[in-house]
Symmetry: C2
Subunit: 378 residues, 2 copies
């Protein structure tokens, strides 16, 4: 009987952040592909288009005029999935017909005044401004809402309806499914193993190196052991950090730098502006930092950096040190600029499945240049 | 303050089959769409293409010759994600790096010898043959494997790599994530409420009618109260049935008929061959019917119809009456033949979200003709 080889033999891997399993069938990469080939997104985006509602000086759907912004720019989503004042559906429901009130806000944040630029092509100082805004928003919206989801859909393949570089922020009065999974899994892990899951995980991956894509003094990017999407990555701080606002100045600069390096590699992989959905998962509804101060935290966390907020969150005064700030990148491409992985029949009805090992994906990404292919060609 | 209107006010609905919530934001349908528009799949599929490995008489990737089949045709997937003999990765693992053996088989089943036909255009007697094969496979593969997943990816948009009408069957030695969720949720429901969840649910939906799309003596199709995909449906028997092999002759004919009616409506919605992923969830690893006989089941189930199998399954001798056979249809289209719903950033990182109410979707489908648009035009 042959000995186990992860590149040849399908197996299941456990995702401790979602308490689920992924089927890894790397030998599937050998099959030919005759299915849908999507045309790569157009590259002829004008730098400025007065009809694009995200551009400086444009008029948006609600009649408002955008300022002539020259850095980031934030506004309320004109077609929000969450509104602050929706009435309550009422709570006297049959177990099979249960509903719950949902309230929130949806914001859009442009990264840059130009439509024809993306994060990996922006200057580190410009990316830094995006990070600062993310941190500010976490504080601002976190004062009212239980969960603030910062996310970016990049590329038409990922449902992005506007090429102008932007992300979205949806804040809600409820803990979304994925957030409560991450909350539960991290909480259980700390209880069982005495250390926050992702603090331990980052340390072990930094040591093993096998799944590391890029790293610097403060940050680490890995294709996680349990990655589902072909080139999925997890961006982790090395020290124990609960939220974006807790990052120091150096950590923010260092984050801008590692994001630029990661996203440049992504674009270089298939020489295309790499589509993905990404987002931050972070501890929320934290109150004043007493929570952490009580802990005598051994992870070099600096409790005085937690920004105070009104003590209204339901998590308040609970020990939240099981949390570790992290970002997920979920890119769909598998084989080339226009052949993607489909999460369809088996994945939707039975089990998530991937076609190359996380180690193979990490190696491919690691070997790529950190000079963007467009810069090189220019 | 306005009174709650599900069409105007976002709210959460509970999915009791997956123990999760979906955000319903129906007012979002008002927004314009400027994002990706996929070109409708080609309609010029030749009836027979000797180079298509799924056609009668073709040679497949492994050199085998397909018979000149004239009904259904089954073969082993030439690029299987699951193989019967993969070695065990070993079990002495760190909690963050856990893996598990995965063994199984992947089969492909052609529905019909023609490449240019689909289920809604097939004769009921032809669809009946597909159903019989599904039932046989459940018995055959269920004798060896813990879970048999029958699923169909239809259309290039759903990752289908070959236009020839076919489905897949992946059987595994492990209970996939979605299967164990359905198992747990149905088990808990019976324990708590004294009746199998989906038996109760079908009865209540049949009474309410609001979410019913099509129904007949034995079957019911609804847009479930907790639907995630815009036109998602749930196909349910009216009586308590654990598995496809347990269906009577009349129930199978009646299933062929309701599938044809549902799929015709789907195609008529946007006058396109409607893409979807569908699949069956059913009780598995059932042994001899003593399990049910012990129950004095009040749901008209007929224990003698459970086919006996070797008593090796790990579920054997457990009471499995919490299960109810059902099929899920997950179609991606939202607004037209080429504008789909994207499950991306917020959905991947936070919470599933939909843009019209299940009641609106059911009404749209219900109102459609049951004569296929292609037949009408011909
Ligand atoms: O039908 P195929 O080509 O084997 O594959 C298709 O269905 C599989 C099962 O849902 C997916 O894993 C693939 O990503 C998809 O392209
Ligand atoms: O960016 P948009 O156009 O608001 O919308 C996009 O992202 C949303 C959040 O992930 C999804 O619900 C939509 O389906 C997608 O098209």
């Amino acid at each position: 009987k042959p000995t186990f080889d992860p590149k040849e033999h399908q197996h299941l891997r456990y995702n401790p952040l979602r308490d689920s399993w992924v089927l890894v069938s790397a030998h599937r990469m050998k099959r030919p592909w005759k299915g849908q080939v999507e045309k790569p997104p157009e590259d002829n985006i004008p730098r400025h288009d007065p009809n694009n509602p995200l551009c400086p000086g444009s008029v948006r759907a609600n009649g408002e005029l955008n300022p002539e912004y020259d850095s980031t720019f934030m506004f309320d989503n004109d077609f929000p999935a969450l509104q602050p004042d929706a009435p309550d559906p009422g709570s006297d429901h049959h177990p099979l017909f249960q509903s719950k009130a949902a309230r929130g806000v949806c914001k859009v944040m442009c990264f840059h005044p130009w439509s024809d630029i993306t994060l990996p092509l922006m200057q580190p100082a410009e990316i830094r401004k995006v990070i600062d805004k993310w941190a500010d928003l976490t504080v601002e919206l976190g004062a009212t809402y239980a969960w603030v989801q910062i996310f970016e859909n990049k590329g038409a393949m990922m449902g992005c309806s506007n090429p102008h570089p932007h992300c979205q922020v949806w804040a809600s009065n409820f803990l979304p499914n994925e957030a409560s999974l991450a909350e539960r899994c991290q909480r259980d892990f700390l209880q069982k193993h005495g250390e926050p899951m992702l603090v331990q995980y980052a340390r072990m991956e930094a040591q093993a190196q096998e799944r590391v894509v890029v790293e610097n003094e403060h940050w680490l990017v890995v294709v996680p052991y349990w990655a589902t999407w072909p080139f999925q990555t997890l961006l982790l701080p090395r020290r124990h950090v609960l939220r974006l606002p807790d990052l120091t100045t150096q950590e923010r600069d260092s984050l801008a730098s590692i994001m630029k390096r990661l996203l440049t590699k992504y674009d270089n992989l298939f020489e295309v502006s790499f589509p993905y959905s990404m987002g931050w998962h972070a501890c929320q509804a934290l109150g004043h930092c007493t929570i952490i101060q009580d802990l005598h935290c051994k992870y070099r966390c600096q409790p005085n950096m937690l920004l105070p907020r009104a003590p209204t969150g339901s998590h308040l005064n609970k020990n939240m040190s099981h949390w570790q700030l992290h970002a997920h990148y979920y890119p769909p491409l598998l084989r080339s600029a226009n052949i993607r992985k489909f999460m369809v029949g088996y994945e939707m009805l039975a089990n998530e499945q991937r076609d190359l090992t996380p180690e193979q994906a990490a190696e491919q990404l690691r070997k790529l240049s950190e000079e963007h292919y467009k810069v090189k060609k220019a």
